[in-house]
Amino acid sequence: MNTREIIARCEHLFEDLRFGAVKEWKAAKPGRKAIGYMPIYVPREIIHAAGMLPVGIFGGGDQLEVIQGDAYYQSYICRIPRSTLELGLTGRLDCLDGMLFPSICDVIRNLSGMWQIMFKDKYVKYFDVPQNYDDAIGGEFYVHEMQQLREDLGKLAGKEISDEQLRASIAVYNENRKAVRELYAYRAQEPWQAPTSELYLVLRAGCVLPPEEHTQVVRAYLAAARTEERPRRDNARVVLSGSFCEQPPLSLIKSIEMSGCYVVDEDFQLIQSWLLDEVPVSGDPLEELSKAFLHRSISTSSKYDERKEDKGKFLLKQIKDRGAEGVVFAAASFCDPALLERPMLQGILAQHKIPYTAFKYSENTGQMAPIREQAGTFADSIKLWSAA
């Protein structure tokens, strides 16, 4: 398959807010179950080991008309909880047997309790992760939390999840993460060959496909992208930061690219690159997942930075490793974690004389002209500065 065909399939999966792929997967074998998860991170390995399909729910995007969901939220709350509720209330999430609400912010946290009340027949869990990174403290807490999830899903599946099943699932996700890392590296190397608007769709396919199949899609795209010749432009290389929960519309990503930026790294789908290297398949599987989370995972604003000097380190590394020339801070309106983090990161970039620009969006932002204008001016200014 060529990139156009692969992207067409991924785009279809992305746009299907009835989750046909999930329904098909469940229908293929009686008794199969699917568990939804919201951004930013849950250990999908446990869901997979239970024989279930992990399904990423990232709101309703710009194609969903939110009617009922709006009745539950004030105007000053971001859009993702209202569109997620809309998905639930209109029956689009009926194919899910449960929902996990990770520890990301107060809005998603509260949504977990709302879900308990509104969807009583579903398994619902607020999934807490530690903000203490010592193995004996945060690690122990986290292993217990994962164990609880393992037991819950085991009950739902009708059989316990064995260590062997967990190890096998870790291996599946190691392969998936490896493929995603390769794709990221390739995009940074030749962003004109693998534009972010395409990479995004390839990653979003991972929200609804089984990981084994998704790995194949990623590899197929990578292989196809390497063989196709695409025009190279004199664009500015930027990292996009702050879009880890409510997603920008695809047209916004395209607009940034059209304005003269190559997005060489971003944080749209953190779950797929959260663990930075392979999780060992020997040893206690939950302990290995815990160690990977505590010591070898990415930094984002929902995670506590233990030391002052840790702040911004990850972003600086992204900039350096990807050869970026500037940062575009793109945060969802009313996103507390991203918007509270932003001034700190901007201060650090200023210290390092790295240019940045910032704007807000919501998942249904429709007016792209101002974004194009701002990103284009930013790209031009980078080109001017670097020439000076």
């Binding site: 539950y72 939220y73 107060d106 903000q131 004996a136 403290i137 930075d305 309106s333 509270l340 983090e341």
Partner: protein, 459 residues
């Protein structure tokens, strides 16, 4: 006994308000709070180390074990709000790059720093030596102290308190908090203060805490009387002040709550309602439960809207934000660290939605309230996100009318007096109609009256 005192006039208020009526306990409370600001202002000359921490999950007894002078940035922000100083602070923080979308407590605090760190009473506040990030029920706390740490560059210690997502405190959650206290928090406080931890000293403070907690619960529950001798929201702000801040575990707090209790006992004997800034309450026409924090910038004006309508708040969730004591929890001198963990895990905003709804329904029943009012605060997602479901659920379960108003903590731009007043008036009319129709006792299968809520906003 009540004594008239002068409230500091607001810069944006065109007319000077008449002197506010306050009870002796309120004056004593003010003395305590101002005394703490003076203690902070003079901490350096007294060679004392300074800590900063938050109200929910406040480990005051533990901090006292290390002789810290204790600052609480939330109360600094609200005190500045009540003194009409927060508006400029917030705008200064926004000019400094902070988003208009985020918590105004944070911005008021950062704005105060930008203005030279002058505290609400006019005395300069010292830079803290340690930020105790007891992160209970609100993610913003974490970012708040990260922001302050970037500026102050002082020691920061995190106490991560897991959320009661399943509506209970598991052993794993308790053990996690306890371990952090033993292995992270206490060693850091020892290092910063140079004082060795003495668990017997902690026990001693906790014995005082229990006395104050008993009297606080008695005070809050006195609102079950008819008429209620207290206001469980506006008045409760004064009552919770000492115990939620730098005084839990001190003899001063014990004395304050003892004075308060005597005062209220007297009011019950005399059949009196609450004292308000406008004077004695004119007579209890409506009994309400309120969910959500108050607005601080127009606190008196807001309270007066209730006073004018003869409404008394008999119970509020905000009065539980620094600790839920009325369902039996007390600090336990025999198990001091364990009870600190339990306390943090049990603060109101650490409860899940079904627990919060249960609590409100219980209040409506036990305090024989006419209905629920939600004051939804723009700044506070921890409280506000999902409150419209709380409103629907409470109406469905109790059959009692509910209303929804919106304001902010300390941003005067988000207090629209006319809108709030209109909505309150409509709400009270609805309560009256319900009474006339003999409704409201039970849901009884019929559809409840539509709640007073803002029109849905396209987003």
């Amino acid at each position: 006994m009540s004594t008239p005192i002068q409230i500091v006039p607001g810069t944006s208020t065109p007319k000077k308000p008449p002197p506010a009526q306050k009870e002796d306990s309120m004056l004593l409370q003010k003395e305590l709070i101002n005394g703490n600001y003076h203690e902070l202002a003079t901490a350096r000359e007294m060679n004392r180390k300074v800590s900063a921490t938050f109200v929910p999950g406040n480990l005051n007894e533990l901090l006292m074990c290390f002789d810290f002078a204790r600052s609480l940035p939330e109360t600094n922000a609200l005190q500045n709000g009540m003194r009409k100083k927060s508006g400029k602070m917030i705008m200064d923080a926004e000019r400094d790059g902070h988003s208009e979308d985020v918590c105004t407590y944070v911005k008021a605090d950062l704005g105060m720093m930008l203005q030279g760190q002058v505290g609400p009473t006019g005395e300069a506040l010292p830079t803290p030596d340690v930020l105790l990030l007891s992160y209970t029920g609100c993610f913003t706390f974490m970012k708040w102290f990260e922001l302050i740490r970037q500026k102050y560059d002082c020691e920061t210690v995190m106490l991560h308190v897991p959320y009661q997502g399943d509506g209970r405190i598991s052993k794993n959650m308790r053990d996690y908090v306890l371990k952090q206290l033993k292995e992270k928090v206490i060693p850091t406080l020892e290092k910063v203060s140079g004082v060795k931890f003495d668990i017997d000293r902690l026990r001693q403070y906790m014995k005082e805490s229990v006395k104050a907690e008993e009297d606080l619960v008695w005070t809050l529950q006195s609102a079950k009387h008819k008429p209620s001798p207290i206001d469980g929201y506006f008045g409760a702000v004064y009552y919770i002040g000492p115990i939620f801040t730098a005084f839990r575990g001190t003899p001063e707090a014990t004395k304050f709550y003892s004075v308060l209790r005597k005062e209220i006992e007297q009011r019950i004997r005399e059949g009196k309602g609450p004292v308000t800034p406008e004077g004695e309450h004119p007579g209890e026409k409506y009994r309400l439960v309120v969910e959500g924090p108050p607005n601080w910038t127009s606190f008196r004006e807001f309270w007066k809207m209730f006073y004018d309508e003869g409404a008394v708040v008999v119970a509020s969730t905000y009065a539980k934000v620094g600790g839920v004591y009325d369902f039996g929890f007390r600090h336990d001198p025999d198990h001091p660290l364990e009870s600190l963990a339990e306390y943090c895990l049990g603060c109101y905003t650490n409860l899940n939605f079904p627990q919060r709804i249960d609590m409100i329904c219980k209040y409506l029943d036990e305090y024989q309230a006419d209905g629920l009012l939600i004051n939804s605060i723009k700044s506070c997602n921890s409280f506000s996100a999902g409150q419209l479901l709380i409103l629907r659920e409470v109406e469905r379960r109790t059959g009692k009318p509910a209303a929804f108003i919106e304001s902010d903590l300390v941003d005067p731009r988000y207090f629209s007096a006319a809108n709030i007043k209109n909505r309150l008036e409509s709400y009270f009319q609805m309560v009256k109609q319900k009474r006339a129709a003999g409704m409201g006792a039970k849901p009884a299968g019929h559809a409840p009256m539509p709640p007073i809520v803002p029109a849905p906003t396209a987003h």
